[in-house]
Symmetry: C2
């Protein structure tokens, strides 16, 4: 593996000049630059990121912290953010925490990220005040997707409004007994709580009570949604419609209804949030959120903060859209 010294010798210049030429800095004659570029290409020279980082104090890497990557929402955001960051010359260090509290602590405390990244992208987690302080102390700009934190850049949907939109759709269709399938670990992720708030608020706005027995926990998985729906539909007085806080849970709910011999939407309506890539396939009515855009925006914000220094970090709310498909209709009778 060739080093900058090899290139310098081959080009007949100093290593300082090689560095400047390769970085496109001014104060290098065009002739010299060409000679250096040719020598570097010839030697297949690639600068050592470690050495460059040590000398410059920049790592040219962004850390991405998420609970999962193998879920539609996170995978889509990671993919779009990665593309944007790589284009800007940044590497993406992935920390997929799972549900492990210990790993979560390591990530947020900075043990994992300090001195390793120039900035951090947090996905789908709702950090505590302590965690915010710790991550902020890592040094670089932080952007969060799916929540907002003072001092950090953020991209999110209005979860409460999205939930209200979904419930309103059901109300407009004539439903009055509407079940809710939410997440479980409200402490860990941001949006479940907000979506539940929206559910209750929209019911209240329609003069309907929020009945505890109509709220179930789905854990944001297909099988969790299935189980939750099964319980709700087995109630003595079952709901005529189900609002699931994510499409994956909504899909599980549709399945549960059908396995219980109920037709969707004739016997029970189901609506989700997301517009998961499989939602159209399943003809699922949902409130769509733009995931690719959120990933790109978050990446963009970090890049801007990295170059533009001290300008205020934006907090963006992206719009959602009701997608009426085949799993919702008016209740019978």
């Amino acid at each position: 593996m060739s080093t900058i010294k090899d290139v310098a010798e081959a080009a007949g210049v100093s290593i300082a000049t090689v560095s400047r030429a390769l970085h496109g800095l001014p104060r290098v004659s065009e002739a010299t630059r060409q000679r250096v570029l040719a020598a570097a290409a010839e030697l297949r020279y690639v600068a050592s990121p470690s050495a460059a980082s040590l000398a410059s104090g920049q790592t040219n890497a962004i850390g991405v912290v998420a609970p999962f990557v193998n879920r539609w929402y996170f995978a889509a955001i990671v993919h779009s953010a990665e593309e944007r960051l790589r284009k800007a010359g940044y590497d993406l260090l992935l920390y997929s925490l799972g549900t492990d509290t210990h790993e979560r602590r390591r990530a947020f405390s900075g043990t994992l990220l300090r001195k390793r990244v120039d900035g951090v992208l947090v996905l789908g987690l709702h950090p505590t005040a302590e965690e915010v302080a710790a991550l902020s102390a890592v040094g670089g700009p932080v952007a969060i997707v799916g929540a907002d934190v003072p001092g950090w850049a953020s991209v999110r949907i209005d979860d409460e409004a999205a939930a209200r939109c979904a419930v309103r759709h059901l109300l407009d269709l004539g439903h009055r007994r509407i079940g809710f399938i939410g997440g479980a670990d409200e402490l860990h992720t941001a949006m479940p709580a907000d979506r539940r708030v929206g559910y209750r608020a929209e019911l209240a706005a329609a003069g309907l009570p929020a009945l505890p027995e109509l709220e179930a926990v789905g854990g944001f998985t297909v099988s969790g949604g299935h189980l939750a729906a099964k319980r709700l539909l087995g109630l003595p007085e079952p709901p005529t419609a189900l609002f699931a806080a994510s499409d994956e849970m909504a899909m599980g709910a549709v399945q549960a209804a059908r396995r219980s011999g109920l037709r969707v939407p004739e016997d029970v309506s189901v609506i989700g949030i997301d517009d998961h890539e499989m939602a159209e396939l399943m003809d699922l009515t949902t409130v769509a959120q733009p995931v690719v855009a959120q990933g790109e925006l978050a990446a963009e914000m970090i890049l801007t903060a990295l170059t533009d220094g001290e300008q205020p970090l934006p907090a963006i709310t992206v719009p959602t859209e009701l997608m009426v498909r085949g799993t919702t209709s008016s209740p019978r009778g």
Copy 2:
């Protein structure tokens, strides 16, 4: 941010001793080690990865190169590999190439990875001989998932056998006119070709011809599968069963059949490969492949190669399993 020097001063030892104590190396007295550990904790010291890499020649990072992360198969493998690698103290650098040939070239040429990672994990790509040579020249061990390459560690399923298993299931049910929905860019990814080979081979073993008009391109997406199925089912003499080389395409095919007014499986059977997380939900018959295990195995192989030096790199084939669900049955009549 504290450096090793701060810790050394606080503990009253040299930086060499700090380094040894923190790494758990021998030849440090227990008392000294405790003192160093305490000082490091007190100062919230985290070693600079750049400095450590530059001095040691190791990056403690593994590069993961994949065409996508936002597809079930890749996301699942990245997630499980990341967990294993992080546990071993390695960072995961993600390179999600997309379909961009330019980025692919950069990744395989080593421009992206050289001097940056200790090993590489390649997912779902079928590198050319040239690419293999270039990536091998990066230096560290390489493991590939979904294909096998001489000189690299590998984990994969037997794609041809999996395809034959799927087709055999359809033959056993009595189908004789079986359509195939495969990928598109056979040059880029490994398995499409093998799965097509298996399809043809199993037909041949049953004394049936491989009819070109029964083979369609689905591009490994739901919508691609939908389109391909639509074409096949619109044939003057349509197939009574469809074998899709992935579950996502199979799901698209099921949808296409239903939208054409055909019942699945009464009018047309559909089988896929994968056992996608949504397959059970859709009651899709498929040939299951273990994704989590493949990710873990691949990570394990790299870790072993990294520590155990020059032992031969394993090439493992993991088993697949036919999952008979509700989208396949005997043809009518």
